[in-house]
C-alpha cells in the first residue's frame, strides 16, 4: 500500500469546509474505509471545520495517517488561534451553544469518531483532534 503524506488545509471561508470534507472523503476512500465510516468522519469534519470558522476565526485542518499496534487510521487536527473555550465540559454538552447552532457539533463529533481530544486555552486558541481506526 502506498504511504500517504500528511497535508494541511486552510479553513477560512465556508467553501473551505467543502474542500476539507472532500479531502477527508477522498483519503478515506483511498484507505478503504466503509461508507458508514466515511460518512461519520466527513460529518465530524464538517462540524469541526465550521466551528473553526464560526468561533475560532479561521485556522487549519491537518490530515494524518497514524499507524500503531498493527492498525492504521485517519486523524484530523483542527487548529485555530481564536478566543478559545473557557469551559470545555460545558461546550461539549448537547444543546450548548454561544452562537445560533444546535449545540450538537462538539458532542456529536465525539460520538462519531474513535478518539477525540480537545485542548483549548482562552485567548490562545483551540485544537480538536479526532481519529478513526480501520
Amino acid at each position: 500500500m502506498s504511504q500517504k503524506e500528511p497535508e494541511t488545509i486552510e479553513i477560512k471561508i465556508s467553501e473551505d469546509i467543502l474542500r476539507a470534507r472532500q479531502s477527508v472523503r477522498t483519503c478515506m476512500v483511498d484507505l478503504g474505509f466503509s461508507l458508514i465510516d466515511q460518512t461519520k468522519m466527513v460529518t465530524a469534519a464538517s462540524e469541526l471545520a465550521r466551528n473553526t470558522i464560526d468561533y475560532g476565526k479561521g485556522g487549519t485542518m491537518r490530515i494524518e495517517y497514524p499507524a500503531e499496534e498493527g492498525r492504521t487510521g485517519i486523524r484530523l487536527i483542527f487548529l485555530d488561534h481564536g478566543p478559545g473555550i473557557a469551559d470545555i465540559q460545558q461546550a461539549l454538552k448537547d444543546g450548548f451553544t454561544t452562537g445560533s447552532g444546535l449545540g450538537l457539533g462538539l458532542g456529536g463529533s465525539k460520538r462519531l469518531v474513535n478518539d477525540f481530544e480537545i485542548r483549548s486555552e482562552p485567548d490562545k486558541g483551540t485544537q480538536v483532534t479526532v481519529t478513526r481506526w480501520r
Partner: protein
C-alpha cells in the same frame, strides 16, 4: 553601480515597430496562442495599444514603480484585457504570455543597442525584467480575480438551477436536493419552495435528500427551518431519501427531524403523500 537614467524608453521609442513585430511573432508562435479566441488582427491591435501606453508611461522617467499615476493607463488597459480574456476562456498562462512574450523582443533590441557595454546591458535587462514581471503579475492577478468572480456567479446560477421544485401531482410538490445545504443554499431552496407552494396551492411537499452526501447539524437545522416555514404556508412536508449511513450518523450526532414525517425512499414518500391526499393509485 551608479544610478543612471534607464535607456529603456529610448529603446522602446527607437524600435517601437520592430519590437511590436517581434512581439507579435513571439505571441503567435507560442503554444499558448489561442487563434480560436483571438484573431491576429485583434491581437495586433491590443499589442500596439499596450506598446503605445507603455511608451507614454515610460516617458515619465519612472520605469520601476507601476503604482505611480503615470502607469495607471497601462494598468487599466491590462485589467480590461485580462477581464475580457477571463470571460473568453483563456487560461492564466495564456493571459500572462501576453506580457511575458514581450521580454524576448525587448532584450534583443537592448543587445543590439548596448551590446558592447556588458554592465549597461545587464543593468537595462534587469530594469526591463523587473518592469515586465510586475506588469505580468498584475495581469495574472486581475485575471485570477475575474475568474473567481465568474465562478462565483456561475455557482450562484447553479445554485438556483439545482433546486428545482417539481409539481408531481395536483397539490403535491417534490424538491430533490443535491449537494450540501449551506446557509446561502437554504435561502434559495426555502424561497423557491414557498413560492411554489403558493403558486400551485400545494398542501404536501416532499423534500428528497437522496443527493445530499452528509447531514451535519447545519444541514439538519436548515431542513427543519424550511419545513417550519412551509408549514406556516399551510404545506405539510415529508423528508425522504434518508440513506442508512446518514440515518446512523444523525443518531450519533443527536439531531432529529422532530415530528416531521420521514421516509426511506422517494417512492415511499409518494405513496404516503397520495394516501394523505386521498388519491388511490392503481
Amino acid at each position: 553601480m551608479t544610478k543612471q537614467k534607464s535607456r529603456l524608453i529610448e529603446i522602446f521609442e527607437k524600435y517601437e515597430q520592430e519590437i511590436l513585430e517581434d512581439w507579435m511573432r513571439e505571441q503567435i508562435a507560442s503554444i499558448t496562442y489561442r487563434k480560436d479566441l483571438l484573431t491576429e488582427a485583434g491581437l495586433r491591435k491590443q499589442s500596439a495599444e499596450l506598446m503605445g501606453l507603455i511608451i507614454t508611461a515610460s516617458r515619465s522617467g519612472n520605469v520601476t514603480d507601476i503604482s505611480a499615476p503615470e502607469w495607471k493607463p497601462v494598468l487599466d488597459f491590462l485589467a480590461a484585457t485580462s477581464k475580457t480574456r477571463a470571460a473568453q476562456g483563456f487560461t492564466t498562462q495564456e493571459t500572462a504570455t501576453f506580457i511575458f512574450s514581450l521580454k524576448q523582443p525587448v532584450f534583443a533590441r537592448m543587445k543590439l543597442e548596448l551590446g558592447t557595454n556588458a554592465v549597461a546591458l545587464a543593468e537595462e535587462i534587469w530594469i526591463a525584467t523587473v518592469l515586465l514581471d510586475k506588469l505580468g503579475l498584475f495581469t495574472a492577478e486581475t485575471y485570477q480575480k475575474s475568474r473567481e468572480d465568474i465562478i462565483r456567479r456561475q455557482q450562484m446560477e447553479l445554485l438556483e438551477l439545482s433546486t428545482p421544485v417539481i409539481k408531481i401531482w395536483e397539490g403535491i410538490l417534490v424538491l430533490p436536493l443535491i449537494g450540501t445545504l449551506d446557509d446561502a443554499r437554504t435561502q434559495v431552496v426555502m424561497e423557491n419552495l414557498l413560492q411554489n407552494v403558493v403558486d400551485t396551492n400545494s398542501s404536501i411537499a416532499i423534500i428528497d435528500i437522496t443527493g445530499v452526501p452528509a447531514v451535519d447539524t447545519l444541514v439538519a437545522q436548515n431542513l427543519i427551518k424550511t419545513v417550519s416555514a412551509a408549514r406556516l404556508m399551510g404545506a405539510h412536508c415529508i423528508i425522504s431519501g434518508i440513506r442508512p449511513q446518514i440515518a446512523q450518523t444523525m443518531v450519533h450526532l443527536g439531531v432529529e427531524f422532530g415530528d416531521v414525517v420521514t421516509k426511506a425512499s422517494l417512492a415511499d414518500a409518494l405513496k404516503y403523500a397520495f394516501q394523505q391526499a386521498g388519491i388511490t393509485v392503481t
